[in-house]
Symmetry: C2
Subunit: 672 residues, 2 copies
């Protein structure tokens, strides 16, 4: 064995035992993946990955994702060894309260973590988003002599990732788009939690990925650095995305557990681990052992990476001389500053009784905004004509047209969600994804992670109630407003007319550290006369008094979101004619409202007025909070039905007349 090989093996074993020690010390975690893929990770990080541990945000770095996030100790070991700001003590504190080494990697918490992974398949699809971002930015910013944007996305994926449907969706799209800078290394250990993959996963994975249009390589020995290295070089040379299938042994080195499901998700045990160390001539008297020469070997990544970034910076200075506007623009995009005056040209919609669908006004508003903010890129899961999400000033993103800003995601909602997250993780992008509201169910795993990871992603959901009509209950969201509101850190905004749509978009653009779900109608909604009613800017407070009729303290507070605001306005006017004091509240967004001062909240929902009615064409879950014990909720507690939308609104009681009647009953009851 040459000295080099000896050191290499030592380095790989360092990864193995740091990871195993982390798991054993926490008495919780997954040793199998890190021990089985240590050589793969070593090869990527030491021979290929272009990173600068001193600056985790260098924009032209390669991206690395561990899609099987349960193997997080692999990542933490690599981050520590290569010199990121993650001390060894953090590894010793694995999975403990307040540590930077949680059970699954969390974006934003630990320097060098590029994506929050764990729910399987998400990391796979995030990588596709990152590669789209790279290709797109390269097309826009690279100029003759300057490859300012030129990086790879490496992803380690597992059996579980490959079984998940979201992976299939993303892989099919990646193949179609010929994302050549995607290099995936598949930890083919043939073991899942229930046992050998023979029990459920016997498809020909290589053939499947070839069918998607991927380049597929085989590595017979996942511990052979040179073999892995060669496969990566072949992948780099191929114009397609690459899957490198590496035969590995789960929990490699554990004397009785390696190669079995027992190595997957439980600490190896003190004895087992000691024997593993003995077999590999590793010291057993100390945990978290890092040989000095190994640390130096890994820390070369830091020095080399620092140099690489310096070279890039030097090149960028030259680039800037010749392309100053582009250079400034690139810097701006990655600094997450919005362009100056992006709000200036936004449409004010004139009063219009007939009005328009909020999905249509959204299309108009987003097109105007997208002209000012060129990093807005996204698309629909094959519903762009219905979602009104096509950016007219641009073209489709395709392999022969990577500067296009419209992505045809296909009928792949979950893949779209995770790819949009990947665009956001990459940086320099403001991505969106669209579908019907009811199909937000298909992409819920991705939406949840966008909220958890504080990503600015914009989810556009149209056809927002039974108002969509004839398509019937399979397509009519009933519980979706409530179930989206349930996700922490996700703002759910359902505007009532075109002018609230404009403000909703402004809110989504301004929320720089979290996702927004914009909820739009299929059917026309009147554009409210803002000379008589309050300004739509009230939307930014979540709820606002859109009108108050009567001179004294209101007898009743009516509140509604979206298409139902017109119903409370109609009923309110009728009640006012009878002499009632009526306050009408447009209530497009709960979480914005909850963030207001108590004084503001009380100014809208006057605590002394207990007669309150909420009107929303969905389940009532949670409206109790706003209407209180003496209030009432006009809602839909069953699934919808197939019929024209206006017929359904009548049958389900969403009419001015029924709102009026409900209020009268409520007031009658209140005066008993």
């Amino acid at each position: 064995m040459t000295i080099n090989k000896r050191l290499q093996n030592k380095a790989i074993n360092t990864i193995r035992f740091l990871s195993a020690d982390g798991v054993q010390t926490a008495n919780s975690g997954h040793p199998g993946l890190p021990m089985g893929t240590a050589a793969i990770a070593y090869t990527i990080w030491k021979r290929h990955l272009k990173i600068n541990p001193s600056n985790p945000n260098w924009l032209d770095r390669d991206r690395f994702i561990l899609s099987g996030g349960h193997g997080s100790m692999l990542l933490y070991s690599l981050l520590y060894l290569s010199g990121y700001d993650l001390p060894l003590d953090e590894l010793k504190n694995f999975r403990q309260w307040g540590s930077k080494t949680p059970g699954h990697p969390e974006y934003g918490l630990t320097p060098g973590i590029e994506a929050t992974t764990g729910p399987l398949g998400q990391g796979f699809a995030n990588g596709v988003g990152m590669a789209i971002a790279e290709a797109h930015q390269a097309a826009i910013f690279n100029k003759s002599g300057f490859k300012i944007i030129d990086h790879y996305t490496y992803v380690i994926v597992t059996d579980g990732d490959l079984m998940e449907g979201v992976t299939s969706e993303a892989a099919s799209l990646a193949g179609h788009l010929k994302l050549s800078k995607l290099i995936y290394l598949y930890d083919d250990n043939r073991i899942s939690i229930e046992g050998s993959t023979d029990i459920t996963f016997t498809e020909d994975r290589a053939a499947r990925f070839k069918a998607y249009g991927w380049h597929v390589e085989h590595v017979k020995d996942g511990n052979n650095v040179d073999e892995i290295d060669l496969a990566i070089n072949n992948a780099k040379a191929d114009p397609r995305p690459s899957l490198i299938i590496c035969k590995t042994v789960i929990g490699y080195g554990l004397p009785t557990k390696q190669g079995t499901a027992a190595a997957h998700g439980a600490p190896p045990g003190v004895d087992e681990l000691r024997k593993a160390k003995q077999n590999m001539n590793w010291p057993t008297d100390v945990d978290f052992f890092v040989p000095d020469e190994v640390l130096s070997h890994f820390r070369e990544i830091k020095t080399d990476g620092g140099k690489a970034e310096l070279e890039w910076q030097a090149s960028f200075v030259k680039y800037k001389k010749e392309n100053s506007k582009l250079a400034d623009e690139l810097t701006r995009r990655f600094s997450r500053e919005l362009p100056a005056r992006w709000e200036e040209n936004l449409t004010y919609f004139e009063t219009d009784e007939k009005g328009m669908a909020t999905r249509k006004s959204s299309g108009a508003v987003m097109n105007t905004i997208a002209e000012s903010i060129p990093e807005i890129v996204g698309g629909s899961a094959d519903l762009a004509p219905s979602n009104n999400t096509w950016l007219k000033s641009s073209t489709a993103f395709q392999s022969d047209n990577p500067s296009g800003r419209n992505i045809h995601f296909g009928v792949r909602e979950n893949g779209m969600g995770s790819i949009v997250n990947g665009l956001a993780y990459h940086g320099g992008m403001l991505p969106y994804g669209a579908t019907f509201l009811v199909f937000s169910d298909y992409m819920r795993p991705a939406v949840r992670i966008s909220a958890l990871s504080h990503l600015q992603t914009i989810w556009i959901y149209t056809h927002d109630s039974i108002g969509l009509g004839e398509d019937g209950p399979t397509h009519q969201p009933i519980e979706h407003l409530a179930s989206l509101r349930a996700i922490p850190n996700l703002s759910v905004i359902r505007p009532s007319d075109a002018n609230e749509v404009r403000e909703a978009w402004i809110s989504a653009i301004k929320k720089r550290s979290g996702p927004t779900a914009l909820i739009f109608s299929r059917q026309n909604l009147p554009t409210i006369d803002r000379s008589k009613f309050a300004s739509a800017e009230g939307l930014h407070k979540g709820a606002y008094v859109i009108a108050e009729l009567g001179e004294n303290r209101p007898d009743i507070i009516l509140m509604a979101s979206g298409s139902e605001v017109q119903l409370i306005i109609g009923a309110g006017q009728k009640l006012a004619e009878e002499g009632y004091g009526v306050r009408m509240v447009s209530f497009p967004c709960w979480d914005l409202f909850e963030k207001q001062s108590q004084a503001y909240i009380d100014s809208v929902l006057d605590p002394s007025v207990s007669a309150r009615l909420s009107v929303e064409a969905g389940i009532g879950l949670g409206w109790e909070k706003w209407v209180g014990d003496k209030g009432a909720i006009l809602s839909i507690e069953t699934f919808g039905a197939s019929a024209p939308g206006n017929k359904l609104f009548k049958e389900y009681g969403f009419t001015v007349e029924n709102v009026y009647r409900t209020v009268k009953k409520l007031l009658g009851k209140g005066s008993e």
Copy 2:
């Protein structure tokens, strides 16, 4: 053209124009699919499908699913023509209030509809569940000389279906399981809503399905009955599941729209439709035209099907003579009667301070129940050892062991959900699917459809809160209890100890027309002393007073579900020692509680007691309904964190001490 071919063409055009007239009359719907696949549907229904329109429930019928449910007029045309109880007037009433012909097919509403489809990919995966049911029942019930169970599942699938990840999951499993009686016909029209499939779906679909282990056939002309017929015969002869890729023209016959996205989802228009009829020599003076000879031709399906069932019945009589127990058992399973005395052997769990995880008591209870109810079949998405869902008295369902009752679903949650639905649709099964609660997000589309279709499916979700500990926020459900409760007709039950687990299972088994989600803890929970506290049978009412301390009207009502019930018991006892009157309510299931009489509800949540506290380790959304304006909610409104579970319970305030303090504050406030 022979007379036969002439009639055949006429029959196919009848399907086309009935469908197009339905859409045009409704001025809403999707003509493209029915017009493009009319010949495919004709070939299946007229030459292959074993059905008896007079008895849609004949248990050995072939199953037919239209996975692209938007083409529902195809189905309604076929049902009417072949003589199901669906009059022509219903077709004229397509997509109208109260009709049996909704926009997307709905199981249970229209005779002959085998599955609710529309959300793409679901029908594809339902078929896999049906084929598993067929193979399983065949293995159990068929005896030498008697193929009592012997039917195919035919599914028409679309581009959209094949793009969805749920399809990939189900297809991979179907290939692994060698479900030879699955015959899928792919409407390869190369058109999606955003345009040609060239823009996003260019993978080699035949190669992909071959990689899954499927047999693939090509039909060059999707209007050629003989070619389709031959492909189906080849599919029947092959031991693998089959995909028949049929080249079709969307909206075939529409002079300007055929072959374009314009034919997909909008009425053709009166002129366009008239010209189409003219071109095909179809009468234009009358809509919904059905030539007499065509009706007779199709109605042969009814006479032939009646005969086929009679023959089967005759064979069944003979079978019964030789296998009377089996015959009775088959009849019982399909009649949806539970076996006698299935509840008898259920475990009563002894008081135990240490207790056990509810996922463990669930494993014990379900194993006992499953011994009495042999139609219980299911599995986990690769988490059986963690979910405790393995049926120990049986083996794994595999191609060489189809009588096994444990399905290894693999890491395929959405596929699992839809396959479980397919098992339920098929009949004679009581299926379940399991994963971690947080991953219910991955299978939400299937869970929603189980609720919409009134299927008795049992969803088992373990690791139900931050109590799961170190795996951290990606794995910790926070919003999932709320978001599942939001689905109409889904019972969400979160038992507090082993004895409530038993009752929860009884409740799920007895709910014969809808799904139940059973929510279990990862961590140990004490088994409550039921000699001192109320019987766990109170669970069936959704919420019940588990203990009341103090002699007068309670000062406070404490309520909790699952692992938090022990906290309110602890705090309640402490408060009682100080002289407070305390009522403690175990609240495992909202929807069961909502179904109780107002008198019962008031007996639990005494309206005169306004000091109320709910304690649940998840978001508070909706608890306002139960605690009222003067109550308080102890909840988690952010994501979780990675640390040991008991540490997290402390940090998030879920301790007896903090419940106690919160009550004191609440009572103090209440007395201001």
